[in-house]
């Protein structure tokens, strides 16, 4: 079962959603971005309550991970940057150089978290949730976009991948729960115990690749599904990225579905925009 832990103290939303540094009201904010934003927390209101905010974790809290990576001691991590709820990863693939630093950072973090022994001596990008892909002259930053189904049309407001999971393995761990810097704060997480793994099930990945993007990959050791958890509101990839605008962690909540594309579709669009030509991939 997912290791869901209570933090000692309730994290406070430490940043108001802003456009230009000035405060904006909740009403204006919602009007601007739409409602039902995954994990959006404004003034303590959880936008998506998959778990009731105060619900106890479904299983007993697990012990701390066997070997957290060096920089991820709770106190230390918090001192560097605080996990934020209600934020979004914004990608600018024109600025991305395909340097792979984000993927190294992500894979190092989650490889060490899930498989400290096996990855002690190995850097393996397969643990990375974010996977830059190069399509000759354009770079695509492939990651989960936090899509959301439209209740009024599709009969559900879940993530598409979540909606098709037969085991309810894809969770949104609300603010106040989860492990700082890994999950919680209203972002997504895959329960490793519940997930059936690639040899029995790949519905999440298939629906994503069928209709949305390619946000799911599979852990090469456990063979379970893995997805970007937005590092529980404190993205490692953003900190690692050397290009200031390629990856941004911004308080502008959006339904990622509108910009989720297959990697090839992304590459075709970018090529068309940047070089004014069509190319089929």
């Amino acid at each position: 079962m997912t290791r869901v832990e209570r933090r000692d103290k309730e994290p406070e939303p430490n940043k108001e959603p802003t456009q230009s540094g000035g405060k904006i009201s909740r009403r204006e904010f919602l009007g601007m971005t739409g409602t039902g934003i995954a994990g959006l927390v404004i003034g303590g209101i959880v936008g998506r309550e998959v778990f009731p905010k105060q619900a106890a974790p479904a299983a007993a809290p697990a012990a701390a991970p066997a070997a957290a990576p060096a920089a991820a001691g709770e106190g230390e991590a918090a001192a560097v940057s605080e996990p934020k709820a209600g934020y979004t990863l914004v990608f600018d693939p024109v600025q991305c150089t395909g340097c792979m630093k984000c993927a190294v950072a992500c894979s190092e973090k989650y490889g060490a978290y899930f498989h400290p022994e096996e990855t002690k001596n190995t850097v393996n990008l397969e643990f990375s949730r974010i996977r830059p892909m190069r399509f000759q002259y354009v770079d695509v930053i492939n990651n989960c976009h936090y899509c959301e189904l439209m209740e009024w049309a599709e009969g559900s407001n879940e993530f598409p991948c979540q909606a098709v999971c037969p085991e309810d393995a894809i969770l949104t761990v609300p603010e106040g729960e989860g492990e700082a810097g890994y999950y919680g704060m209203g972002y997504k997480w895959i329960d490793q115990e519940k997930c059936l793994g690639i040899d029995k099930c790949w519905r999440c990945a298939e629906i994503c690749e069928d209709q949305f993007a390619s946000g799911i990959s599979f852990d090469p050791i456990s063979r379970k599904a893995q997805v970007c958890s937005r590092c529980g509101g404190d993205p490692e990839c953003v900190k690692a990225c050397p290009e200031p605008l390629a990856l941004q962690w911004v308080p502008v909540g959006r339904n990622g579905r509108f910009y989720a594309q297959h990697p090839t579709a992304y590459a075709e669009l970018l090529y068309r925009k940047m070089y004014n030509k069509r190319r089929e991939l």
């Binding site: 190092e108 001596n121 990008l125 190069r134 399509f135 354009v138 770079d139 599709e154 990697p263 070089y275």
Partner: protein, 677 residues
């Protein structure tokens, strides 16, 4: 074998004749001596007898190797290297950037060695441990860009490809009614990397290269021709096993320190080598203009070779190699009045393209003007001139050709025509005038498809000069072959004392290598320093990393290798000796495979006539010639002194048996050396 770190300990040997793949496991001692990459590749050329003159470069017995080194993968600025015997019958070592290098390590291999010849076009697909020879008839004949995009989707990791599982019942009814599932299963990921040849390699143009990511090349000495001779269109790799490191924490700390330093490297991060052009012309007087008749324009107003100008006119997107923050490659969309060029998508040009298929082809002067005249055009004219250069780069890249020897060849033909030493009839009616990009376009088609005179030109610059010298009964024609050791001189001149020293090109391990290192030592006649620089470059090509960020690696290289491999006793001297071995072996390789009896006369002295006898006509170094116009001093004093410092004989430059023994390579090279001493 004890557990290896850094390297995987495995090389895949693919025999295309028999269609079999075997695993070579080099002993740790071999890695200690040769590290990986270029030095390891040269070792295998000796071990497998490729050095023998009996091995025809374009025959099935030649071996083409793609190799990486202990830091390739998670290490900074990853590159790969090809090592083989070139169609020119000398050593061929060529490095390339791109993600494929790291991917090969992730697949669990230190290299791929290809022997034999397939009966029909094939490509090699590497997915972790599985190495397959697959049919490539659907991509044969295609340019490198198209091939790459097609093959990328044919090679997916095991977890990336599954048949359809979803049923509409897995969706909510409303959702299923709107958008039922397409039942295609998995297959959207595109993480494989591709090394491929274009029509140039397929038709065995001697200077054909191997390209990845549209514009990154194992550029020189024709590995693409060897690939083509084996009917091998591409190597496609997808690896999921990661990079095993002895001390990962230390290794990543070093990588991060190098990156922190690279991040402040304004020069590389802004325009890459495109930032060098104007400096080389107007400050160093060492830029190729019209087959090196000039090295600077009389009017320092030609701006099309400036990074900032190119950026304004055409740059689109910066791309980096794995774990590189210098992002020295920029993609380009050409805007031009000329429909032939307009809309072409390519890269930069980098420094070499800028010179070799830019100024060298007379693209930058206004019609009727020479480089001695004032520049009379506008900024739009400059942009149109730049377009010609970029278009010619794009042609070479997509055909899979080295634009250095290719540019030297076109410039040779243009100068011969300028001097009326040949006529358009000699070129099947194509009138190759300075600056005529349409004529270049036509000529390249003939070369790539080996039509008519193209069949001769496909053998490169020096052979073409020789052909015309014989055909016309005019040995003067050889004077315009701007080749050192029968290969095109890259875009740095040796007449200007502000750029390279002639000794650098004469001694370097690969013909006309411009990144050989040791520059300052050569200028000062400090042979030990020069040799240290050269050996250092071999180490870089064996790790395999990039030479551009050299300064950022300073003081960290040995530590990186130690952290990767766990060889706690590895020293600077070990690193130095890797280069010393590679130099000795490359020297013997070139002498032995060509059967040279008097290497100095038959090989070392094969340098451009222009160096010594054609003073620079313009620019800050006006009047300069190479080595103060004294070839005798170069070949009879400097060269023997350099050879002596290397432990080679002073008369022929043969590594002595003592030297080979001291380097621990007498077992593979001693017998060959004896034949030439």
């Amino acid at each position: 074998m004890a557990d290896l770190f850094g390297m995987t300990g495995k090389i895949a040997r693919v025999d295309l004749t028999s269609g079999t793949v075997t695993v070579i496991e080099p002993p740790e001692e071999v890695y200690r001596k040769f590290l990986g990459g270029s030095a390891l590749g040269v070792y295998y050329l000796f071990k497998e007898g490729i050095v023998s003159p009996d091995v025809d470069p374009l025959g099935p017995d030649n071996m083409l190797q793609f190799l990486i080194g202990p830091i390739t993968g998670a290490g900074p600025n990853a590159r790969s290297v090809t090592v083989t015997k070139s169609a020119y019958n000398f050593i061929s070592i060529a490095t390339s950037g791109g993600q494929a290098a790291a991917e090969l390590k992730f697949a669990g291999w230190d290299g791929i060695q290809i022997v034999g010849k397939a009966s029909k076009p094939v490509y090699i697909a590497v997915i972790d441990d599985v190495v397959e020879i697959r049919d490539a008839s659907h991509v044969w004949g295609k340019g490198v860009e198209e091939v790459e995009l097609i093959l990328k989707k044919e090679v997916l990791a095991e977890t990336e490809s599954r048949e359809a599982m979803m049923r509409d019942a897995d969706l909510t009814p409303e959702w299923a009614a709107l958008r039922p599932v397409k039942r295609k299963g998995l297959g959207e990921k595109r993480l494989a990397s591709v090394w491929s040849i274009g029509p140039g390699g397929e038709n065995q143009v001697w200077y054909a290269n191997v390209i990845t990511e549209g514009a990154r090349a194992h550029g020189r000495y024709g590995p693409g021709a060897i690939m083509g001779s084996k009917n091998l269109k591409a190597v496609v790799i997808r690896g999921t096993k990661g990079h095993k490191l002895a001390d990962k924490a230390k290794f990543l700390e070093l990588v991060n320190a190098i990156h922190a330093s690279e991040k402040n490297d304004y020069f590389w991060r802004s325009y890459g080598t495109a930032g060098i052009g104007a400096r080389s012309a107007y400050v160093e007087d060492a830029y190729p203009i019209r087959n090196w008749q000039w090295c600077a324009w009389a009017d320092p107003q030609v701006k099309a070779i400036e990074g900032a100008f190119m950026d304004t006119a055409s740059f689109v997107h910066k791309q980096a190699c794995p774990n590189c923050l210098l992002k020295c490659l920029t993609t380009v969309e050409i805007t031009s009045e000329d429909p032939l060029m307009d809309g072409t998508i390519t890269d930069m040009p980098d420094w070499e393209a800028m010179g070799m298929v830019g100024g060298n082809l007379g693209y930058f002067e206004m019609p009727g003007k020479t480089p001695s005249d004032p520049f009379t055009g506008t900024h739009i004219d400059q942009a149109e001139n730049l377009a010609k250069l970029q278009f010619t780069t794009a042609l070479h890249d997509n055909y899979g050709l080295d634009f250095i020897d290719g540019g030297a060849l076109l410039a040779l033909l243009m100068e011969l025509r300028q001097r009326e030493l040949i006529t358009p009839e000699d070129l099947d009616g194509i009138d190759l005038k300075w600056g005529d990009v349409h004529a270049v376009d036509e000529m390249l088609k003939k070369i790539v498809y080996r039509q008519g005179i193209g069949d001769v030109l496909a053998r490169g610059t020096w052979e073409t000069a020789k052909y015309f010298a014989e055909k016309k009964g005019n040995p003067e024609i050889m004077n315009y072959s701007m080749t050192a050791h029968r290969y095109g001189q890259p875009a740095h001149d040796v007449r200007s004392p502000a750029d390279k020293n002639a000794m650098e090109y004469v001694t370097v391990r690969r013909p006309s290598e411009h990144t050989g290192g040791g520059g300052a030592g050569f200028k000062q006649g400090d042979w030990a320093a020069a040799i240290a620089g050269q050996n250092n470059k071999c180490a870089t090509d064996s790790m395999v990393s990039c030479s551009f960020p050299g300064g950022h690696f300073a003081g960290k290289t040995v530590d990186l290798i130690k952290a990767a491999t766990g060889w706690t006793d590895f020293t600077e001297e070990d690193l130095f000796n890797i280069g010393a071995r590679e130099y000795a072996l490359c020297r013997l390789f070139d002498i032995h495979t060509q059967g040279l009896t008097d290497p100095k006369e038959q090989w070392d002295k094969l340098v451009p006539h222009r160096w010594f006898y054609d003073p620079l006509p313009t620019g800050p170094q006006k009047g300069a010639v190479a080595y103060e116009g004294n070839p005798d001093k170069l070949f009879n004093e400097a060269l023997p002194a350099y050879w002596k410092e290397r432990g080679w004989t002073e008369d022929k430059g043969i590594p002595t048996l003592e030297t080979l023994k001291a380097l621990g390579i007498d077992d593979i090279a001693g017998e060959i050396a004896k034949q030439h001493l």
